[in-house]
Symmetry: C2
């Protein structure tokens, strides 16, 4: 079991920053500016994907792919596709009809910077581009792998995954959820995409079932831990660091891990989940140390 100190290990920090810069370059290449009149759409897609963000999901794809010695270019392509899906969901969630958020990552949300129509379309185009990137032969020479990634990504982000979870989240504004329902909501809304991130690394590397399952389970627990710490940060976080308004969930009347369990119990649950996530990695040697340190980082994050 790593000590909490490892959460900010130099290896983790360098892997995180390397993933972030690699993904930024990959995304820039995939969204070239042109002089066509509809270029405004590409500008908005760049705004949604290039202005900050922790790049946690691409980092997970890259780190998990490394375990199977996958060409990092391939992992970065899948990471970029996943980031497109993540960013499109933020853009649509921020819309006035949804969470009505004026700020994202400390800067104006997309519909505030541009307009609502552009935000809707930029989100749609990002989601579509994700599948275009995955299906391209550059992502993997084996079409079985590309089809499997397409299928997993669609399931994780569609009606039985992220979008279904967002629907639940909206319903949660008018009805209260118990802890099982809250867990299910977050499993759908954010957990399945986290699982995709880790599993995609295994799929790219044609990993055996036990290793693939280990990474899926790691991501499952980590994703839930991430959400619990998100709920804690919503109450206790520093808006200057989180880039989000404080107490937004409570104001919206949403049931969260904190409103349901209390802050202390929520913190204990996050710890339990993180340690459980790390235990799933026992099938891997020290090459998974960065993933272990990352789990601790999720527990201790301030943003």
């Amino acid at each position: 079991m790593p000590s909490p100190r490892e959460a900010s290990s130099p290896e983790l920090l360098s892997a995180l920053s390397e993933a972030a810069s690699g993904i930024k370059t990959t995304i820039e290449t995939m969204l070239p500016l042109t002089d066509a009149p509809e270029n405004k759409l590409v500008e908005a897609m760049r705004y949604a994907t290039l202005e900050g963000g922790k790049r946690m999901r691409p980092f997970l794809v890259i780190e998990c792919a490394k375990l199977f010695s996958v060409d990092v270019m391939r992992a970065k392509r899948v990471g970029a596709a996943l980031e497109f899906v993540h960013c499109y969901s933020l853009v649509h969630d921020d819309l006035p009809a949804m969470d009505d958020a004026d700020l994202r990552r400390g800067i104006p949300s997309l519909h505030k910077k541009y307009d609502e129509a552009t935000a809707i379309l930029a989100g749609d185009a990002l989601l579509t581009l994700a599948f275009e990137v995955i299906a391209d032969a550059e992502t993997h020479h084996d079409p079985y792998v590309r089809c499997e990634l397409t299928s997993l990504l669609a399931k994780a982000s569609g009606m039985g995954g992220m979008v279904g979870g967002q629907m639940l989240d909206l319903l949660g504004e008018t009805q209260s959820f118990d802890i099982g329902q809250i867990s299910r909501l977050h499993r759908m809304k954010t957990g399945m995409l986290m699982s995709f991130a880790c599993e995609a690394g295994a799929v790219l590397g044609k990993a055996d079932d036990s290793r693939r399952k280990a990474l899926r389970n790691y991501a499952f627990d980590l994703g839930l831990a991430f959400q619990v710490t998100d709920d804690i940060l919503d109450v206790e976080g520093d808006p200057a660091k989180t880039g989000k308004e404080k107490g937004k969930d409570a104001a919206a009347g949403k049931s969260t891990f904190v409103t349901t369990l209390g802050a202390e119990q929520a913190r204990m649950r996050a710890e339990m989940l993180v340690h459980q996530a790390i235990r799933h990695l026992h099938v891997f040697d020290s090459r998974a140390d960065v993933l272990r340190a990352f789990a601790m980082y999720v527990l201790e994050r301030r943003a």
Copy 2:
């Protein structure tokens, strides 16, 4: 060259109605109702896809696939995926921030029937489901074919296709376009998905390049002809038949084929395009007669 009478040939009418009912059943199977709390999302997706619609795109997939003796179940799956993309685009286009349409197919648009948030999410989920369906092994046993379909669909519907075209369409409300720009707009906004419909039939049937190109060109001209007749119907159509408010484009200040060319020239252009579309089919024997008749039908449609 078929005579205009063939536009309502019994073969065409039966093929259209068979495609429509086959697609309806396929879509119903893909959107099963559950008792989960987020079922509202599935209900909205069913409302968007099962309440009417001409099913023109699935019809084209099915008819083009028939030329290569493709299993109709496969063509119906691709047709359903394409219909999901088409319907999601209508749902998002109807939103207040976009075309702000209260009616669609003569009944309340999705955000009027439900609410804006549900409409945004149902659109997102339909687009995602399209790719899930295409990538599934049931669509074709050969993963190369599935990847190619995924890639073509993403390109036709993303920033360089439908969504880019919709962006142009919105920009057209504040600036006037010449005939070349209008053609490009519609090529992107609707033409590329029509081309996908026909090309998908060829891809499913592993057709040679010349036949594949013939179908793509047929769809290209037919798609543009369809848009020209749409512009004519916007001015001259009967709202009871079209299910749309009359003169909506003109009211929005959009440049259309009719505002730019005049109704008479627009009609001549539609005729020219339809005859050109039919000429591309010369590489096919009488099995393509339904496609020939369909082109005439596009010219003479009243809804």
